[in-house]
């Protein structure tokens, strides 16, 4: 009961924030936090719950961003529809990549490298394919305030869209966590051989995780393309983006429902506060940010959620059971 009340309170606060705050900067920062929590949650399904550490989620992100923007640019299709086509395309690519990796039992670093490599292939291909804008990338034509086309004159609308997307995906992952598929994923993460012996088909479960993860990340990519109205091969498929995507769930706690959200909030606050603290020396805030990040990785190997759980002792675990 207390949990539900706290959740509801948080939700009301999040929904009311743009009405109370007049600062564009605060709204923008909240929007980016929600956005990173959203794509982090997408990564979390494959990298957290199923334990398949992907180092190339920019692959799905880029496919989502490119597909929805291209459909809009070339065929005038509204991104509200295009984003789902993007998700479908990402699922397709995810299944092929997943089949090749899981069929041959690639794990750990090898799987991470395969994902990185496939994302790089897409980056190089997008750079050299003029139809998708080549190295120039895609500028989404602006139509002013056109909600029908996923374009808003006011940032607050973008915030509400990503907040709704984040709520939906969090609800979905909460359901997944308690579902048969979710338990199977966790079993594979903890001990694949044992799960296999129990009759779980790791190949199929991992593919399912890949598909879900790809779809969510692609939807995030479509949102990004509309919000920034510009995407190029490096922004879309670059390794830097892959790292941004996995950073928040890792810091927050991979394989937990609240991990990506907590990670997004913490890193968002950390990034903005270090930026504000040491403005006079360019780069110092990035060093500070990096040091704190390293500290988090060293001292909180299971993320902030892991640390909170061990602090709360068995209480948290009992409540979950």
């Amino acid at each position: 009961m207390r949990r539900t009340a706290a959740g509801l309170g948080l939700l009301v606060a999040a929904a009311a924030a743009p009405l109370l705050v007049r600062s564009e900067y605060v709204i923008g920062t909240l929007t980016l936090m929600c956005f990173f929590a959203f794509v982090g949650q997408g990564w979390n399904i494959l990298g957290g719950y199923a334990g398949q550490f992907s180092f190339g989620h920019a692959l799905f992100f880029g496919i989502g961003a490119y597909t929805s923007s291209l459909c809009f640019l070339k065929a005038g299709l509204t991104p509200w529809v295009g984003m789902w086509l993007g998700a479908a395309a990402a699922v397709l690519v995810g299944l092929v990549t997943g089949h090749l990796s899981f069929r041959y039992g690639l794990r750990g670093a090898y799987f991470a490298l395969v994902m990185l490599a496939v994302a790089e292939i897409f980056r190089v291909a997008a750079t050299n394919w003029d139809y998708v804008g080549g190295s120039f990338g895609i500028l989404v034509p602006l139509q002013g305030h056109a909600p029908r086309l996923f374009q808003f004159g006011d940032k607050r609308h973008f915030y509400y869209v990503i907040l709704a997307m984040l709520l939906a995906v969090t609800w979905g992952v909460a359901r997944l966590e308690r579902s048969r598929l979710g338990y199977q994923m966790i079993a594979i993460r903890e001990n694949e051989a044992a799960a296999d012996a129990l009759g779980i088909d790791p190949y199929r479960v991992k593919l399912a995780a890949m598909a879900l993860s790809a779809a969510i990340t692609a939807l995030g990519g479509a949102f990004y393309a509309q919000y920034f109205s510009y995407v190029d091969p490096t922004i879309g498929f670059g390794p830097g983006n892959s790292i941004e995507i996995l950073l928040r769930p890792i810091i927050g706690g991979a394989g937990t429902l609240w991990g990506p959200l907590l990670g997004a909030v913490l890193l968002g606050l950390l990034g903005e506060s270090t930026r504000g603290l040491v403005r006079s020396y360019a780069g110092l805030h990035l060093m500070l940010y990096g040091v704190i990040l390293m500290g988090a990785v060293v001292f909180l190997p299971r993320g902030v959620m892991g640390a909170l759980r061990s602090l709360g002792g068995g209480a948290g675990e009992r409540a979950r059971a």
């Binding site: 980016l32 120039f136 602006l142 940032k155 930026r275 780069g283």
Partner: protein, 409 residues
């Protein structure tokens, strides 16, 4: 690093702040402040260029304030709000949000095209006038934004004009150079420049016999240079960033690949004193069509000297364009006589500046592009970068065909 100058400035600033606390009313009555936003990549991959831009704007604003601020506004001083966009689009967005919140009257920056796509869009949303410094991608002004102003030539204008210059030179000097090899990085800048050149070069009687794309991060360009050698090129046109550009020159010298001319368009190295410092004599005779100052302008020597004194750095066009952009805004503020953003935008749109340090008049078309902007053609001669074309700005005559590598060592 805290230099003595910066330290003194900090002390002076603290003094002023203390004074403001003591006598707030008096100070406010004397000189109002106009908040100007500036977003540059001060860290990340573009940090070097971003800092040059920051220094250029700083120098201009100090000059403007020292000369009595904005006279039409009772001598109001410009106050810079400098934010680091870290070379990242999401951070660039947040810098624009903060300018909006802080009430900046206009925004200067952000050096790179990829960042400018984002910042100009935000400027349009918030109706904040945005004067760009370097960002050259054609697409930035093709969106027809009302609050975006670019005083310098776009990428397409740069390539077109440089090809015209090359055609003019070939005619005037009766050069028999025909066979061109394009070597370009495979990103946005290199590829689109090479595309434009391939279309335009036949118009001046030259043919592109080979296009050699390379990755900007390539550790060695031996094979690419061997291809140039095999192609028996008369002219090599590199369009690439600094590291690859200097690598190409070094490798060509090492392998003794002699060509009639090496000429770049917006070359990453051709018009940089850093290049001359790094490769020494090998930099000689390199030609580059690029942003540059008007060498005949009466004030230019003084400005360059002031910059070099303040920052202990040789001239670089990145700071020059940023410096100029601040003066364009100053002029608009004088004519607007108000800090209302829309009035400033109106004034910017009616800009008619002549006799600036850039070698062209400044005005803006309905898309915010300066139609008269153009690059100049420079050549490195005895360790100095000199304008060689067009004639009205030329400081010296170009040396073409360039001497063989053997004759230079």
């Amino acid at each position: 690093m805290t230099t003595r100058r910066r330290f003194l400035r900090t002390v002076a600033g603290a003094g002023a702040a203390a004074g403001a606390l003591g006598f707030p009313r008096v100070l406010r009555a004397q000189a109002r402040e106009i908040l100007v936003g500036e977003t540059h990549p001060l860290t990340g991959g573009l940090a070097r260029e971003g800092n040059l831009g920051k220094q250029g704007i700083e120098l201009a604003v100090n000059e403007i304030n020292a000369a009595g601020g904005i006279k039409a506004l009772g001598g109001a001083r410009l106050k810079l709000m400098v934010l680091d966009n870290e070379s990242k689009p999401p951070v660039a967005i947040s810098t624009m949000e903060r300018f909006k919140d802080a009430g900046a009257v206009a925004v200067l920056g952000p050096y790179a095209s990829g960042l400018a796509f984002v910042t100009t869009q935000e400027a349009e949303k918030y109706r904040i006038p945005h004067v760009l410094d370097v960002a050259v991608a054609d697409g930035i002004t093709e969106r027809g934004f009302k609050y975006t102003f670019r005083l310098g030539p776009s990428a397409g204008m740069g390539a077109r004009t440089t090809v015209e210059y090359l055609g003019g030179l070939t005619r005037e000097m009766r050069l028999g150079l025909k066979r061109v090899v394009l070597i370009h990085e495979d990103g946005l800048f290199g590829k689109s420049t090479a595309d434009t050149l391939e279309k335009l070069l036949p118009g001046i009687g030259m043919q592109v016999i080979e296009r050699i794309p390379h990755s900007a991060a390539a550790p060695s360009l031996n094979n690419e240079v061997l291809k140039i050698k095999a192609a028996k090129a008369d002219i090599v046109i590199p369009s690439t960033y600094y590291p690859a550009h200097s690598l190409i020159i070094r490798t060509m010298a090492e392998q003794r690949v002699d060509v009639g001319a090496i000429l770049s368009v917006y070359g990453g190295a051709g018009s940089q004193y850093r290049f001359i410092k790094d490769v020494g004599k090998l930099a000689d005779y390199m030609l580059d069509g690029n942003h540059w100052y008007n060498p005949k302008h009466p004030r230019i020597t003084g400005i360059i000297a002031a910059f070099e004194r303040a920052y202990s750095q040789p001239f670089a066009y990145e700071w020059m364009l940023a410096y100029q952009s601040a003066w364009v805004l100053k002029d608009a503020l004088e004519r607007a006589g108000a800090t209302d953003r829309d009035k400033v935008r109106e004034a910017l749109a009616r800009t008619r500046l002549t006799n600036q340090i850039v070698p062209y008049p400044i005005s803006f078309d309905e898309k915010g592009q300066n139609p008269g902007a153009r690059p100049l053609l420079m050549q490195v001669q005895q360790g100095r970068i000199a304008v060689v074309y067009p004639g009205e700005f030329a400081e010296t005559k170009p040396v073409i065909p360039v001497p063989a590598w053997d004759k230079r060592m």
